[in-house]
């Protein structure tokens, strides 16, 4: 009961002291971060810096070796009760994942299902909504991302930009509290990047909580509230886009930015 009162103030995502190893390789080293409701957090950094791993830990696609992740007050990582760590049951984990959307670099649409069926599948199987209801939601979302005419096509027939917009619509169909974007534009042809970024900007302006791993500076300047620069599995620098991009404090950040900004 007491948690209910606190909900409004507590962060949407709270990550504390998370570490992750792949064998001997330390992918994440004691990372702590909070994302507030409606905040757009941008994670930048060189490849292998742990930014994708961090994103994948948030919805437990990757299991952190240490630390705590709490989404909207719910523990994703094992929760300490009376001195014992209790793992979240599979069902609870599925429920959290249903509320955390994820958009992948390679879209990962289901190629054997039509665009409409892609957006309806989880609504029907997870939320148990009816066929007509879920299709209504799906068509509305396709309208929102600007490709209502593609509803009955199969994903491989669509351009990369269209596929990524379907992928965003698919995650929106679950009415997520937060959406994680894992390099959503890096597999796209240059002329298709903006159509995806426009959809993301709309979501940001509507107050969606977003964690975006990307190097799109334009998007960062327009929409991001907070920018995190990661390297070697740790957070090197953190601040507003103007602070991190305009006046970076650390040498590694300066070096990285000079390389990607030319």
């Amino acid at each position: 009961m007491s948690t209910k009162l606190a909900t409004a103030n507590q962060p949407m995502i709270s990550i504390s002291n998370v570490s992750k190893f792949f064998g001997d390789f330390r992918a994440l080293d004691d990372v702590s971060l909070t994302v507030d409701r409606g905040e757009v957090l941008m994670i930048v950094g060189p490849s292998g810096s742990g930014k994708s791993t961090l994103l994948r830990c948030i919805n437990y696609l990757e299991v952190p070796d240490a630390g705590e992740i709490i989404i909207d007050g719910k523990h994703v990582t094992p929760k300490e009760i009376d001195g014992k760590f209790v793992r979240l049951k599979e069902r609870g984990l599925n429920a959290i994942r249903a509320e955390v959307g994820m958009v992948f670099q390679r879209f990962e649409l289901f190629p054997h299902l039509t665009v409409l069926e892609n957006i309806c599948l989880a609504q029907q199987k997870v939320r148990k909504s009816s066929r007509s209801e879920s299709e209504k939601v799906a068509r509305g979302l396709l309208e929102k991302v600007g490709i209502p005419e593609q509803a009955n096509k199969y994903p491989p027939k669509l351009s990369g930009g269209q596929q990524q917009r379907v992928a965003i619509a698919r995650s929106l169909a679950m009415q997520p509290k937060v959406i994680l974007f894992d390099e959503p534009t890096s597999a796209l042809d240059p002329e298709m990047i903006n159509e995806v970024l426009d959809v993301m900007l709309t979501l940001a302006s509507e107050g969606m909580t977003m964690v975006v791993v990307s190097h799109e500076m334009g998007f960062a300047r327009k929409a991001a509230h907070q920018v995190v620069f990661m390297d070697g599995g740790t957070i090197v620098e953190q601040g507003t886009p103007d602070q991190v991009f305009g006046a970076p404090q650390h040498e590694r950040t300066k070096l990285f930015l000079s390389r990607i900004l030319h």
């Binding site: 696609l61 599979e90 509320e99 992948f104 289901f110 989880a122 997870v126």
Partner: protein, 267 residues
């Protein structure tokens, strides 16, 4: 600008396929001729006609054993294949153990072992009389237990051919592991393994000849029985060969046609 271009029809490649002797399936013509020659002999030569009619009496048994075994092996093979990639240690090890056991023993030996050792032992264990289990049923049980292991490996390969991202995308939407398998992974895996499953259907058709050792009166057994009294080895075994060749060739062409049709429908 467009008006300056020559008429577009002249730029189109010729629609009629030209005969290409390099890619023409000469082998098919050769095998077709052999089968046609056997057909001619069967029609024209009364000895061949009689043997053909004798072997024909076993065709029903061959087809029945093949079809029932294949369908049951598909179901059991899918379950074993899922067990093979299961995250449950016990289920995974039981599945791998079974598959490796079966694949490590010759099919002919397994047919004997299953029919004359495992089936009787199991029926005794269940308090049934093993002699009530007909040889045809034993033959089918044996082929199912054997081919399920081979088909399980096909399904495993099919499941593993689907990129990890598909499972992750499904899970990130809140689907359970089982739902992701059923609605996302398996439909794609199934499409990928159809050619391999077709090959196993042909293989099981050919291996149904092995159950002649149990005395099941399928075409091979009927031929052997016929030869033992007629001594017409040459005629009988040529006709028997033509039987299998015709069936496997027709199946193979049918499967190729199906595959082409499916890949042209690919989305």
């Amino acid at each position: 600008m467009a008006a300056d271009l020559p008429p577009s029809t002249s730029l189109k490649p010729p629609t009629k396929k030209r005969f290409n002797w390099r890619t023409f399936p000469w082998w098919l013509v050769a095998i077709g001729l052999i089968i046609a020659y056997m057909g001619f002999r069967i029609i024209s030569d009364p000895v061949y006609t009689r043997i053909f009619e004798t072997i024909l009496t076993g065709l029903g048994a061959t087809l029945m054993v093949t079809v029932i075994s294949f369908i049951c092996a598909l179901i059991l093979g899918l379950l074993l294949g899922l067990g093979r990639v299961s995250r449950n240690v016990l289920i995974r090890n039981l599945s791998i153990g079974y598959i490796e056991f079966i694949r490590g023993v010759p099919i002919l030996v397994l047919i004997f072992t299953i029919s004359f050792a495992i089936v009787p032992a199991l029926s005794n264990g269940l308090g049934l009389n093993a002699s009530n289990v007909s040889l045809t049923v034993r033959a089918i049980i044996a082929l199912v237990l054997i081919y399920a292991a081979y088909i399980a490996e096909i399904f495993r390969a099919g499941i593993e051919s689907i990129s990890r991202g598909q499972m992750e995308a499904a899970r990130s939407l809140g689907l359970t592991h089982g739902q992701a398998m059923r609605y996302v992974i398996l439909p794609q895996a199934f499409r990928n393994v159809l050619p391999a499953l077709g090959n196993d259907l042909i293989a099981i058709l050919k291996d149904s000849s092995l159950v002649s050792v149990l005395g099941v009166r399928e075409i091979t057994q009927v031929s052997r029985l016929s030869v033992s009294s007629s001594f017409k080895y040459e005629e009988t075994y040529f006709i028997l060969t033509a039987f299998y060749l015709t069936m496997t060739l027709v199946l193979s062409l049918l499967l190729q046609w199906l595959q082409r049709k499916m890949s042209s429908n690919v989305h």
